[in-house]
Each structure stands twice: as C-alpha cells, then as structure tokens.
Amino acid sequence: MMDKTSVRTLQDLLTEAAASYGDKVYMREKAGKEFADTSFAQLTENCRRVSAFITERTEGRKAHAAMIGLTSAAYLTCYFGTACMGNVSVPLDAQLGAEDLCDHLQRADVEIFFFDKRYAPMLSVIRANCPMIHTYVAMQDMEEEGIFNLSAVLAEYAPAQWTPLDPESCAAIVYTSGTTGKSKGVMLSHRNLIDNTMCQDGESSTEDTTMTILPIHHVYCFTCDILLGLRYGTTTCVNDSMMRIPQNLKLFQPTTLLLVPMIAETIYKKIKAAAATMPDVPIAAIGQGVFGGRLKRIYSGGAYLNPELLKAYREMGFIVCQGYGMTECSPRISTARDDDTNVGDVGTLVNGCTVKIVDGEIWAKSPSVMMGYYKNPEATAEMLTEDGWLRTGDLGYVDEENRVYITGRKKNLIILSNGENVSPEELENKFSGLDWVGDVLVYAEDDGMITAEVFPHPEYLAANSMEAVTEAFKAHVQAINKTMAPAKNIRRLRLRTEDFDKTTSRKIKRTQTTKGEICG
C-alpha cells in the first residue's frame, strides 16, 4: 500500500508501482486490431533507459526536456524518464501552432525535445528558432539525420540507477493560459504532484480500468488518470481519438472515467436518443451499454457540470464526482466523494487543502500549490501571497462541511464548456500593431461564441467604405483563426463605429453598455 511516507517523488511512485504491480498491464493502447500493452515494470524500466540517455546527452547536467504528442506509453516514458532523473519535463499542448510551440520551448529553456512523429513537419521551424535544443527524439521510428528514435534509445541504453531526488525540486513546467495574454509556465515540484496524487484514499483499485480521454499535457489528466493509475495499479486504456470515444468505450469497458462536461453532455444526448427508440428498456441499461457495460464512476472537472446533467447521470446509477482545481494546484482543490448526493457544489476540499475567502475570492493553501511561474516573479507575486496562499481568481464560498461553491470568475478568462481556457488578451494581441485598428475587445457571448468586437482606427474608418472595412477585418480574423487551435477561433465579429467605454487610464472596460453590429 503506497502512502505519503514511502512515496515523495515521481521516482518513488514509479519504483513502487513496478514493485507492487509488476507485470500487470498499466497502459493499453490500440495497435491496429490488437492491443499494445505496457506493464508497470516495463514502463519503469524504459523510463530508466531514457534517464540514462538524457544523462549521456547532457553529460550529467540537469536539463529541461519537452514532449509533444498524444497519450501513449512512449510519451510517459519520455516524461518520467526526464523527471525521475532530476531533470524537468515540459509537456506541451499538442494543438500548438509552430510559432507558439517555439515560444514555449524557448521560454522553458528546453534542450531536449521528444516528439510524436506527426510533428515532424514542424522540425525545420523549431530548429531555426530554438538553437538551445541539441537533442531531438522521435517517439515513433523515422529516418532523418540528427534525430534519435526512442525505440533505439530503449534498445541501446541500460537502465540508469536513479539517485534519490529532493521532493521540493521542480518536476515539470506546465503552460497555462493567463490573463496577461501570454501563457505562463507553472512550475510543479515532485511534492506538488505527489501530494495531489495521495491526498484522497480509496479512489480506485487494481480491479479498475480507466480510459484516458483528455489531453495529456493537462495536469487534470496527468494527475487523475496517469498518476492515480500508477498509485492504485489501475489499467489505463488510451482513447486514440476524440472521434472514437463511443467505439473505444465498448472496446475497453472502463470502470472509471475522467471527463469534462462537454463530453458528458454529448454522451448523454446519445443515451437519450437511444432511449427514445427503445421505450421499454430502462435508461440505466442503455446508459451502461453506451459506456461499455462496466462503468461505475465518473469524475468531472475542468468546467462546471450542469446540475441537471449530474442528476441524470446519478439516476442512471453512476457515481459522479465533480471536482474543482487549477493547474497551479496540481490541480485538485476539491472533489466529491463516492457517496456524495449533493448538487450545486464542486466537491469537498481534498485532504491537506485549506481555503479562505478574501473579498469574495477563494484562496487555497496546500502542499499541491505550485512553486511559482517559471522566470516570471511578477506573475508569481500576483498569484501567490508571501505566506503561500494561492489566489484562485474564482469567486465562491465554502460551507461548514467543507463543500466548495463557485459563483463566478474574477478573471476575464473565457472558459469553454470543454474546460479549455481562452485568454481574451491572447486573441486581442493579434490585432496589435495594425495602424487601421483602433481598439478590440474579445469575449464570449451568452451563446458561448467567441466574439471579437472591433473599433477601426477613425482615420481608416473615414477614408474607406463600411464594406471595405468589414472585409478587411473579416480577412484578418480568418488569418488569426488559421494560427489558433479550433476551440480558440473567433466565431463572431462585431464592428462598432463609436469608441469603447474606457476607464480613466484609457483601458477598455470589459463590460460595455453598447455593442457593435454583427458583421461576420
């Protein structure tokens, strides 16, 4: 039985998982019509081989290594092989465009880059822009000069002897959207990640199977699917595409699932549609069929789960545990217990986490709270108080039973229903430096559409027809959208002919009394 005294670092977690669960299947992936399985022992051994490789490449110096790709045993081998040797892992968003990818690599001081083969077309841009990277490793075999293949690394290098790590040392830098427009690198220590992994008990077992769906660079997925799986000896099956969730549920038959509300909502729509065609079959049986037949427990996080949906799932006999957290807290702050029947809250504080409410905002303190933002002391000071409180930016309260309730966002972040955060400033910045643009405000409208409201430069507006102005903005928005992940695309354009309401310091007020006309 693993506990906090024996497991203090990711290295301890891997070592103990190999000792406790050995040849049991940890990760199950699809390989054509077959399964490709990796055991707990095999994963740990492969990680040690990657550690030996990194040590040789850096001549023993501690370094930062980034990884990009979909969830796989290969990805985790690179991640843990890096962090368990005292190096720092930098998991990157697989949807990043080349420009942002280079920016993240540079700002995190990455020297070694592990990549899924599908990112190979970006290598020339990365090579040109990231001179610090001296080692490129493809997770699947490819033949190109100057590229190492992971399979060859695993074949050639003997497993390294891991030397004990300081739990307070940095294990990972995880990028998160911020209100300042540029994403920030959250530094998570071994202690942070392990605390969040060990803060609850009895959440899973060796009898359980989970299917991991969410992006691996999200700390919610990493802690709750990957690390909890290692702790409890859970077999973790990999959903190979968002397109194939229903098919893969039937194939893998998970007992537990980590979801975001958008996915829970779509699956429920399918269940309802099926129920309408089979009036004699209880909806619980249809629900169970859709989820593969063995599902017991659903964890929901990343965004707020509609209470009606929560009730509907519970009525079908599933345990639904809604949680709340953020990357800066590794991520869990609260989570519902199995026997919880409450609706409206986002779970009970996890063990070791305390909160207080300051001017309506939730402040959290726990061993899971980040070390700070990488090379960004100003942003760190805004987020963390000197005595270690994390300002969550969420408005809410906690009741006498330690249940957490969220009432709103203090920050401007647009939270999409799939849990993705979109920083309006990031999109607004794409309009900067253009002399024909006066001001721009990006926000989500009531129907969830990301809208850019623009005020053209008055001189430009006076010199051109409205049609020409509209077309120019439409074209610019299209160009921006091409560089962004689809979820972050601007879907509506509003054009105004009067300036925005502004504060005394000439900053645009985020709440405007009038709106521009929809023009695209």
């Binding site: 595409s241 968002m242 229903p246 958008m262 779509t266 399918k270 799939n418 689809p486």
Partner: protein
C-alpha cells in the same frame, strides 16, 4: 447521403431535418460543439466504412464539405 447525414446530425444537435442543408455551417448554424462534431465523425467512419483523418477535418465547416470529404475517402 444528405438523408443519412440528416439522420445522424439530429442525434447530436437540436435542429429539424429541414434546417440541415449542404450549405449549413456545423458550428454557427447547427450549433455543434467540437466534441459533438468529433463524435459524429467517428459514427460516419462506421457508417460509411472509411478512416477519417482528424487533421484534414480542421478546415471543414459545412455539411456539404463533410459529404464531399467522405465521398473522397470512398473513392
């Protein structure tokens, strides 16, 4: 194929079959969210026995474009 598309689409979003035309935009007009859309692609794979490439789907906006893409896969 449009009829089959209508049948599938109405299982995911709350629209009438009449609203589903080849020119209808999936997100803006039919109110698909990104996961609805992905799920429907998985179902199209099964229905039409093709393998969809997610990367190639990023530029697709309308019902007609989905149909054209599936037809191109069928050869």
């Amino acid at each position: 194929m449009l009829e089959k598309m209508k049948e599938l689409i109405t299982q995911y979003v709350d629209v009438t079959p009449e609203e589903i035309t080849e020119d209808a935009r999936l997100i803006e007009d039919l109110h698909f969210n990104s996961y609805d859309f992905m799920s429907m692609l998985g179902e199209l794979e099964e229905t039409f026995d093709v393998t969809v490439d997610e990367q190639e789907m990023t530029d697709i906006r309308t019902v007609g474009e989905v149909m054209k893409y599936i037809e191109s896969l069928q050869g």
